[in-house]
């Protein structure tokens, strides 16, 4: 265990060649090193051996599914999961003395990493108007301040209730219930910024906004596409499923602007071949695509499949499926046949021959799955791209059969469950009617604010109170300077949190820190020890229960905080048993079972080993779309372009990072060490721009509002990024993402498609030799 850093660590940039494989023994070493820096060997052992096990802790790191009970490894976690769980279980503590020593202004000047490294929050704190310091406050007083502010609003719509995907089903359900009892649907969440485009596209085309595949499907697919995702760093346990697929004879096509290590080779540290052997090759074929070129790629593939059918009628397309289960095929086919190869090349950077080889892979495969993540969703045309992926899957009937389907790979561990529980600003009347029937009050019907619109409303003074259930909204949101201005304009900001982050330091006139239990900790309420539930990326609902003693006796659970706040704020609105909810989470689940479709017998089913899987209508031949069938769509062609002298920037996470929280300044797989202020650019582009590795530049984004958004003093790194593109770390470069730059339809910030120029600063300091 090490003490928290007193000062910001001083490190210098060094660059080494990118790794060609992921995981292996180094992953184990790095995971243990970080874990033992944070906490004791005993706590590390308890956490890791119960993580992702039946009756244990659900890893908060990502939403990847667990193997069936009985088929899990004794160590069912990845390097990043181990780091994350022990980052939460840290023995470091933030006390009142810390806040006496550090003013809010001081903390606002600190890095994300430094703030996180200070340890767990231990007691409620308040920053009063005019003060620059947080000071201790009792729970009753803290919740009283918040309740008074909420009750004093001219309209409930002057409050916003933000949810991070770490929140459990129970906390999320109670949170949305509280907001709606107060009278607002202002329920933005982190989904608005990660997979909103997936939900919109899948709901429109297939009638359900979730993925359709299970782990078994991946294991038995003939061909898997990994598009716009980096499994090695962001969902490493997916590599185990891909390894299994490869061993079953499946093949993989990876499509990405960066040749990430996890797309190339996986050394499974739990297998001898991963420890001493060469591991498993992941991608059989890698398409080095330009950012945002995926729509054109799938349009081209679809044209090629139609032409293959023309050449050999009755052998390529699944006419039975198309005729019986889809609508819009003829219009789609006409549109697809007009795809222009020059446009495809301009959009993708790929040759026709490269794409034809992928078509041949498809034609050889009876069962195909497409996985994608934010490399797809965070583009202006994210929704059309996913619709085109659905077109691609439907052409050969790759939906609703074993080993086939659509697989949006989600990040936060319960981001899918929170939405299922009603965290959405546009919930349908069926859900609101069920709430009314269960609790006897009429929930508000007008749609509320999502994340982007919440920021705008704060800026315009229409929102005065911001309450966050976990997360780090200020750093997760786009247009950092604008978002920070919005938060500072609030009368009150409050965060239910486990650890310190920048959102506590960029705050309203009054600010509250409401410290809560983590996933790793025991949650004991009036009716005894509780567990919570989560839903993973593959719609499996299961329990999570911590084993460690809480970091402080003054912590309350998320459910307890929200139920107590509700009793002070909306007591008497309807017939909501807030006190019973707090004392016994079974009662929350009983209510959920009567409100949320698919959750019948919730308590009984979720306590079975492994929990239960929510059915997916697509896998039962049901498409609840406007046409009652799966819908082919015609999507306009898009060729993302940057003006001469500019690049298309994608923001991304480093390997040593969990969401907005970097654990170190290193990005081992990409060979970046000692600094996060780097921009990765193809050497040919650097040459054209007259830049060289080590040059210092400001990143300046171009947007139609004419505002100059600038991220200062980044080091240029020559990197095998796709031509015409650049990559830099999130959240440092969120400042470049204009608030109005959003995906069509889903309103998701376009963090993967920002036009930037690199302005030399004149400082030519170079990184240390590799």
């Amino acid at each position: 265990m090490q003490s928290p850093p007193g000062q910001e660590p001083e490190t210098s940039l060094s660059v080494t060649p990118p790794k060609k494989w992921a995981a292996g023994v180094p992953a184990v070493v790095h995971a243990l090193e970080y874990s033992l820096e944070q906490t004791s060997p005993r706590k590390t052992g308890v956490d890791l051996l119960t993580m992702n096990q039946v009756g244990g802790i659900d890893c908060p790191g990502c939403a990847w599914a667990d193997p069936a009970p009985g088929r899990r490894h004794r160590n069912e976690y990845c390097e990043n999961g181990a780091k994350h769980i022990n980052d939460e279980a840290t023995t470091r503590r933030i006390t009142a003395d810390f806040f006496r020593e550090h003013s809010v202004s001081d903390l606002a000047a600190r890095s994300d990493m430094w703030l996180n490294q200070q340890g767990r929050l231990t007691e409620p704190m308040i920053k009063r108007p005019g003060s620059d310091h947080y000071e201790p406050i009792g729970w009753n007083d803290a919740l009283g301040v918040l309740a008074r502010e909420l009750k004093g609003l001219d309209s409930p719509d002057e409050a916003v209730f933000y949810t991070s995907g770490r929140a459990s089903n129970e906390a999320a359900f109670v949170f949305q219930l509280f907001a709606r009892a107060l009278g607002t649907n202002n329920l933005p969440d982190c989904s608005n910024m990660c997979h909103e485009s997936s939900g919109f596209a899948l709901n429109e085309t297939l009638g359900v906004g979730k993925g359709t595949v299970s782990l078994d499907d991946l294991h038995h697919a003939d061909l898997i596409f990994l598009v716009g995702q980096n499994p090695g760093s962001n969902h490493p346990r997916q590599l185990s499923a891909l390894e299994q697929a490869k061993r079953n004879g499946g093949r993989i096509v990876a499509v990405n602007p960066l040749p990430e290590a996890g797309l190339r080779r996986f050394k499974n540290p739990q297998k001898p071949r991963g420890v001493v052997g060469r591991g498993t090759q992941i991608a059989d074929r890698f398409l080095h695509i330009k950012p945002g070129g995926d729509l054109a790629l799938f349009q081209a593939l679809n044209r090629l499949l139609l032409e293959a059918e023309d050449a050999r009628p009755g052998t390529v397309l699944d006419h039975d499926f198309i005729n019986a289960h889809t609508s819009g095929f003829e219009d789609f086919a006409r549109h697809a046949r007009t795809v222009d190869w020059d446009d495809v090349h301009a959009a993708t950077g790929l040759t026709r021959q490269e794409i034809e080889k992928v078509r041949d892979e498809v034609l050889r495969s009876e069962r195909v799955i497409v996985c994608w993540a934010m490399g797809i969703t965070q583009h202006k045309h994210g929704v059309p791209t996913i619709r085109e992926i659905v077109n691609f899957l439907m052409l050969r009937g790759n939906l609703g059969r074993a080993g086939t389907g659509a697989c949006p790979v989600r990040g936060h561990s319960n981001v899918q469950g929170d939405r299922t529980m009603g965290i959405w600003e546009q919930m349908p009347d069926t859900f609101l009617d069920a709430l009314q029937k269960e609790f006897g009050f009429n929930p508000p019907r007008p749609h509320g604010l999502d994340s982007v619109n919440s920021i705008k409303a704060m800026l315009e003074g229409r929102v005065k109170v911001f309450l966050a259930l976990a997360g780090n909204f200020v750093r997760a949101a786009p247009d950092s300077e604008v978002t920070e201005k919005a938060m500072r304009s609030c009368r009150l900001t409050a965060h239910i949190s486990t650890k310190l982050n920048r959102s506590h330091t960029v705050c309203g006139d009054t600010a509250l820190i409401l410290p809560t239990l983590g996933r790793t900790e025991r949650d004991v309420q009036a009716d005894g020890e509780q567990f919570v539930t989560v839903e993973n990326s593959m719609s499996e609902v299961h329990t999570s229960q911590g084993r460690l003693e809480p970091a402080s006796r003054r912590l309350l659970s998320e459910v307890a905080i929200l139920c107590r706040l509700a009793r002070l704020t909306v007591d008497g609105v309807g017939d909501v048993p807030w006190a019973r909810f707090e004392g016994d989470y079974n009662t929350i689940r009983d209510s959920i079972s009567r409100i949320v479709p698919g959750f019948h017998d919730f308590n009984a089913r979720v306590t079975r080993p492994g929990g239960f899987q929510l059915p997916n209508p697509v896998n039962e031949g049901v498409f609840r779309t406007e046409t009652g069938k799966a819908r082919f769509t015609c999507n306009e062609r898009v060729v993302p372009r940057a003006p001469q002298g500019h690049l298309l920037l994608q923001t991304l996470r480093s390997h040593d990072q969990w969401n907005t929280v970097p654990y170190t300044d290193n990005d081992r797989y990409r060979g970046i060490h000692g600094s996060r202020h780097v921009v990765l650019v193809n050497p040919a582009d650097l040459s054209e721009l007259g830049l060289a590795q080590g040059d210092r530049v400001d990143l300046v984004s171009i947007w139609e509002d004419g505002t100059e958004r600038r991220a200062e003093n980044f080091a240029v790194v020559s990197y095998p990024a796709a031509r015409g593109s650049a990559a830099a770390y999130y959240p440092e470069t969120n400042v470049l993402v204009p608030l109005d730059s959003v995906a069509d339809m889903s309103n998701q910030p376009t963090s993967k498609g920002i036009v930037v120029r690199l302005e030399p600063t004149g400082d030519r300091s170079r990184p240390a030799p590799a």
Partner: protein
């Protein structure tokens, strides 16, 4: 030893588009003294196989078209996923193993008998891997497989005749591995419909 289709078997029934096996290693038939509907309904409650089978330890219904079977003897266990590729109520189902090496496929036919009972026929084609392919050319090995299937069928006969009625039913139709729903919305599909971000 592989048996090939004789002239009496049609290449599909013209309605269900089923594609029967053209060759098989095992073919066994048993008559059970319950109506076809009862026999079919009980057979397709796959989770109940461990109640009568000597080798099936567990069956997990992953989704309507996918089951995961655990078979075993003594302490030995083997789990494998199976896809139901065709299913016609009261008449027929066909499966294939999802494991690549080794794997198997098969079909079950349900036919009414003159006495009001049901003739159940199971055919299986084994697809072993590597050197094990030699085994399927051995009459001894295929004979052993046939005896195992026969024993399972007899156990099922005693089970369903003892019950007298089925313990549940799934009346859906499956074509080419995909559920064909007859009703607008099967109850199981009722899940949250709103988009997930």
């Amino acid at each position: 030893m592989v048996h090939e289709e004789d002239d009496g078997r049609a290449d599909g029934d013209g309605v269900t588009r089923r594609r029967p096996l053209r060759e098989w290693h095992v073919e066994e038939t048993v008559e059970v003294a319950v109506p076809v509907r009862t026999a079919y309904n009980q057979w397709t409650q796959f989770k109940t196989f461990p109640r009568f089978s000597a080798v099936v330890r567990d069956v997990e219904q992953v989704r309507p078209t996918v089951t995961a079977w655990t078979i075993g003897y003594g302490l030995l266990r083997h789990r494998f996923p199976v896809e139901i590729v065709e299913q016609d109520p009261d008449a027929y189902l066909a499966w294939r193993g999802l494991e690549q090496h080794p794997t198997h496929e098969g079909e079950v036919e349900f036919r009414p008998t003159e006495s009001g009972g049901t003739a159940i026929t199971v055919r299986m084609l084994l697809r072993p891997h590597g050197a094990a392919k030699v085994l399927t050319r051995s009459a001894g090995v295929t004979g052993l497989a046939a005896r195992l299937v026969r024993a399972e069928l007899v156990d099922f006969k005693h089970f369903i005749e003892g019950l007298g009625q089925e313990g549940g039913a799934w009346r859906g139709t499956i074509r080419n591995g995909r559920v064909q729903h007859d009703t607008p919305e099967p109850p199981r599909s009722r899940v949250a419909q709103w988009p997930v971000g």
